[in-house]
């Protein structure tokens, strides 16, 4: 009986791992930006552009992983922009405890057209955080975000 329960628990754990590891990365392509913004539902949103090969991104993702559980009401989307395997993305997200966040990845070449649609003056630098308020006004933060500033921005927008 205990063996059966152990096997079932193991299978259940595998199923959970498979769910968390494979089904939570959503492909993003040119043309999807408006749909991504629509996810805000007229609330403020932060869209974080990051890459697994970007050295400053790793510690910042870990910081996002600590920020989000404390601020579950804040809408944040992560978009991974390097041309890497999904396994690589999963590994980094798991390290940052962000596997269950709203994770997207570019499913095409990171070319000018894709970047231009997001921001005509974004040339592929990472990390970048784009803050968009309820009225659609946007602010781009180049480099690791100041989480105190981010918290204050969300608080002001949500008030």
């Amino acid at each position: 009986m205990r063996k059966i329960l152990f096997v079932l628990l193991f299978l259940f754990s595998c199923a959970r791992w498979a769910y968390a590891g494979e089904s939570d990365l959503i492909p993003y392509q040119k043309g999807d930006w408006k749909a991504l913004l629509a996810l805000a539902n007229e609330r403020p949103i932060a869209i974080h552009l990051w890459g697994v090969t970007c050295a400053p991104c790793a510690p910042e993702m870990a910081a996002w992983g600590k920020f989000l559980p404390k601020h579950p009401e804040d809408k944040v989307i992560f978009l991974q922009v390097d041309n890497v395997s999904k396994e690589m993305i999963h590994t980094m997200l798991a390290r940052a405890k962000l596997s269950n966040a709203n994770n997207y990845y570019i499913a095409q070449a990171n070319d000018e057209a894709l970047r231009y649609e997001i921001d005509s003056q974004w040339f592929g630098e990472t990390p970048v955080t784009i803050l968009i308020d309820k009225s659609g006004n946007r602010e781009s933060i180049l480099g690791p975000v100041d989480f105190k500033y981010l918290q204050a921005w969300f608080k002001k927008q949500n008030s």
């Binding site: 059966i4 609330r43 400053p56 790793a58 395997s85 499913a107 070449a109 057209a113 040339f123």
Partner: protein, 421 residues
Amino acid sequence: MAKFKSSIPCGAVKILLFWSVLTISFSAAAQMDMGMDHSSHSGMAMPAKFPTCEGSGLECANAATPFLSSDGRLYLAWTAGGVVSVARSSDLGKTFGMPVQIADHGKVLDAGGDARPQIVVSGDKVFLTYAFFKDTHWNAQVNIAYSSDSGETFSVPTSIVKDASSQRFPIVALEPNGKLFVSWVDKRLVAAAKGTDHEMLGGSIAYAISDDFGHSFYPEHIANKDSCECCRIGAAVDPRGGVAIAYRAIFPTGVRDHASQFISDVGIAGPVRRISDDNWKTNVCPHQGPSIAVSESGTFHVAWFTQGSNRKGIFYANSHNEGKTYSEPQRIGVEGSNVSRPYLLALGNHVWLTWKEFDGHKSFIHLKESVNDGRSWLGEEVVTGADGYTDHPLLISRGNDVYLSWLSRQNGYQLIKVGQR
């Protein structure tokens, strides 16, 4: 078996299954509870409108680097689908022979925006270098391979150094004396400083020289211990001997502005010299390194990208004293336009400058020429353009002829004659 069957309490199994379904559902709900309406996600998860090119052929390459040999053959190295390949052309890129695959690293090949394989040729000797990620912490390794039969076969790629930390973005230059100069971004000092009171940002600029065309290298040196870790290095042979390098340095307070250095023909690195005070104080990966060319007079010509507080965009400057002082930076393209990837070539006292400009729909390659060592420029022209993914524009020469090398998904590989000294 029968014993097991008879001892399974159905109720327990049902409870476990119910618990599994409930918990998986809860996980999904928890994700949605982060405030997101995922109802429209299904629209994004549909089959790709822009299918990724998956093969290893030139048609799927993300970067292609040319070399024109003295016998007139074009050697092209490219990376596609995780594979590093080389092919030759006897008709300036109109047709290519069967590619030779040097390495297959799959998804861990460094195919970032500033990464590209490097190739140089001398007689029947070919030298190739590239980088790949060797572990799950994104530490990279610079591999080298060589051929002694005009690229028919290559040695098994090996690391250029024995250091175990991380090396990336190799650049190679063939000096007039036949020596090979290779420089790369090296993280050994950053790794050694980790956990100490003197942690370092970024990487370092390292270089090594070979006098047997890459079969062996003299011990490597660090030219500058503080550089950006995610930008390629620019390197150009000084016709009078030695190599000039340009790179995105990290100056005190974390300012990522550009510097140049001269490495003598016996491998001695000169002082680090700042190219311009852009004041880009950031801890970001720009993925855009500079380009440098050295004209007959020894003038350094440099072009670079910055998002500094003093200027934003791509710029050009030159130095007549090996980098001690640089001219005032000149903007390339129109301010506010989407310009990127400047590249320079000098031949005699002629200088060519090319860059890419995106108009919201299509990428265009612009070019302009100076016939007086960069003091003034003739009018710029648009050479070609393409939709979709495009590589950086590069310039190469054979004799007095100058060619634009450009790869795009739409038009494939193009080698276009754009000038003559």
